[in-house]
């Protein structure tokens, strides 16, 4: 594409086995394939797009109309694997006023913590993202979290070796939004078509209807090339308009850092997210569904069922991860099967400890069969310790194996995988991630 447009990307696959009674996730997992396009028509102009295919092998749509003597059948089929997703992770344009100040406009990554802005799988030596950023998550929306907005970023040198960098954006912001789930069930010799409207916190809308509700920022100081410490935040309303006058906000703060010395690196992140008064959100949700009558809607017509639910509400979440890596290689291995033909192959021993706490978490409030069912609040806490070994024949290709030890510290169920009652479990992971 000449020197104006660069195509790149990354991808990753994983195998997982664990000791849970009903292990899920387990088996081979196509984590994601991300295609990036970087267009730089001029030194001061840049456009960047990241399109993600996650756990998606194929989508197939079939539609048809069959006409009979007595009438017709309109038919639509959608085929695809469970959990599959296509999304635009990033899509922004940038104008550089000067080194210390560039304006970026589009779908950007809220710079809260350090994982969201460094989420490429080939960067990491453990083939699973962190609890804090992905599996729990403590971050308001799981990684890779993007929002539509505008802002500025830049950096200035401080002294001979230091550098100060900043980012700040106004964005549409994460919002409680709903999905309609369809299910066909059989029960007592009866087939039931079940429709569920489920609300959960997702990244903000991109259709220009929700307004600008949030701001996000990051300030990082790097005293030397081998160290960095940063603070970051996200602040904004997440309750949708139809819940007015109830207005609740997310206030999330992060502290993260990186320190390298020789072959050793240590990196970590702490995130605290406050979601305001979630009891008010639950009440507003119930009021919205029940309307002026205050009565929960009864079941639908014969053969159908309806459910309204709001999931994963937590007034406060917090968690951290800390990861140590030791990269090593011996010259005598250069002609062995790991080293032959590669300029700078590396092995890494990696250790990660992480812990998350979801205070007073409510898994679900559901309105079904004319009743309001509210799961009891409980604080959930889980820790995970991972040790692993990674082999990088090239810097952008990593084969990794890891063993993770999970322990439930508080609550009746695990945070991840959510709902499992095991007190502890062990997982074995093997993965490949590549960038190009």
């Amino acid at each position: 594409m000449g020197d104006k447009v660069t195509i790149g990307g990354y991808g990753s696959v994983r195998y997982e086995a664990n000791t849970l009674d009903n292990p899920k996730p387990s088996g081979f997992d196509f984590r994601r394939f991300v295609l990036t396009t970087d267009a730089t028509p001029n030194d001061r102009l840049q456009a960047y797009v990241e399109i993600e295919f996650e756990r998606l092998a194929a989508i197939e749509v079939e539609r048809g109309l069959d006409r009979f003597a007595d009438g017709a059948v309109f038919r639509e089929e959608l085929e695809g694997g469970n959990g599959g997703e296509i999304s635009i992770e990033q899509m922004w344009g940038q104008f550089k006023f000067g080194d210390p100040f560039s304006v970026r406009f589009g779908q950007i990554l809220p710079p809260v913590g350090r994982f969201n802005i460094n989420h490429d799988d080939d960067r990491w030596d453990i083939p699973r993202r962190t609890l804090v950023d992905r599996n729990a998550p403590v971050l308001p929306v799981k990684v890779a979290w993007s929002e539509l907005g505008v802002g500025a970023h830049g950096g200035v040198d401080v002294g001979k070796t230091g550098r100060l960098e900043y980012q700040g954006y106004l964005v549409n912001g994460a919002i409680l939004d709903f999905t309609i789930e369809k299910a066909v069930e059989t029960e007592d010799d009866e087939a039931i078509l079940k429709l569920a409207s489920e609300f959960s916190l997702v990244r903000g809308p991109v259709n220009g209807e929700g307004g600008v509700r949030a701001g996000t920022w990051r300030l990082a100081y790097s005293p030397t090339l081998s160290s960095e410490i940063a603070v970051s935040g996200y602040h904004g309303k997440y309750t949708p308009e139809f819940m007015d006058p109830v207005t609740e906000r997310i206030n999330a703060f992060g502290v993260d850092g990186l320190f390298k010395r020789g072959s050793f690196a240590i990196e970590g992140e702490y995130i605290y997210s406050d979601f305001g008064n979630t009891d008010r959100v639950v009440k507003a949700f119930i009021d919205t569904v029940t309307g002026s009558t205050g009565v929960a809607p009864r079941a639908g017509a014969a053969g159908t069922e309806t459910e309204f639910a709001i999931t994963d509400l937590t007034p406060r979440r917090q968690g951290f991860w800390i990861e140590g890596r030791y990269r090593f290689w011996r010259e005598r291995w250069k002609d062995g099967f790991l080293g032959k033909g590669f300029d700078n192959p590396q092995l890494s021993a990696v250790f990660r400890y992480e812990r998350v706490t979801l205070d007073d978490a409510i898994e679900e409030v559901a309105i079904e069969h004319g009743e309001i069912e509210r799961a009891h609040e409980q604080t959930l806490r889980q820790e995970r310790t991972t040790v692993g070994l990674a082999y990088r024949p090239l810097q952008s290709v990593v084969f990794s194996v890891a063993v993770e030890f999970n322990r439930r510290l508080e609550g009746d169920v695990l945070v991840f995988p959510r709902g499992h009652i095991a007190k502890r479990y062990t997982g074995v992971l093997a993965g490949l991630a590549f960038g190009f």
Partner: protein, 180 residues
Amino acid sequence: MRVLLAILFVVAAAPGRGQQGTTEYLTLDQAPKSLFPGAQIERKDIVSAHEFRENLRARLGRVKPTVWEPTYVTFTARQDGNVVGYAVVVDEIGKVNPFTLIVSATPEFSVRDVAVMVYREPRGGEITQKRFLAQYKGKRSRDPILLDRDIVGISGATLSVHGVNRAVHKALAVLELVYK
């Protein structure tokens, strides 16, 4: 509002030292002078014929350059008649496009300074930071000059860091072949 517009105007008017796209930081005329201020500079172009290239390849060993220049532009810097250093201009590819470096060495062939002359990649421009290039000072051809061994990398600029490593190896090898 006026203050904000004034700030934007001043920043916009500042010369861009871009980190993306093609950015020329130093011309061929400026580059040796910036590395040897006040010195007398003598230019010598070395045609990389087959024999020279084979010698260079042998000297580089495991290091595999991505660009084999047809001609190496080299410089000798003198002060008061004494040689104070040498320099050479080399190209290497970061991810897709080549960038151009000038590497200067002491008379003992240890790196004196590294400067980016032209950077042509949309990403990885962090390698132009002085604090990154400063870590090459004192490196010799026998040193590994490898990421995470004796060179600290930069997140998001890994391929460019590899490119600089190769470029410095190649520059030292050229200077040793020509001037040692």
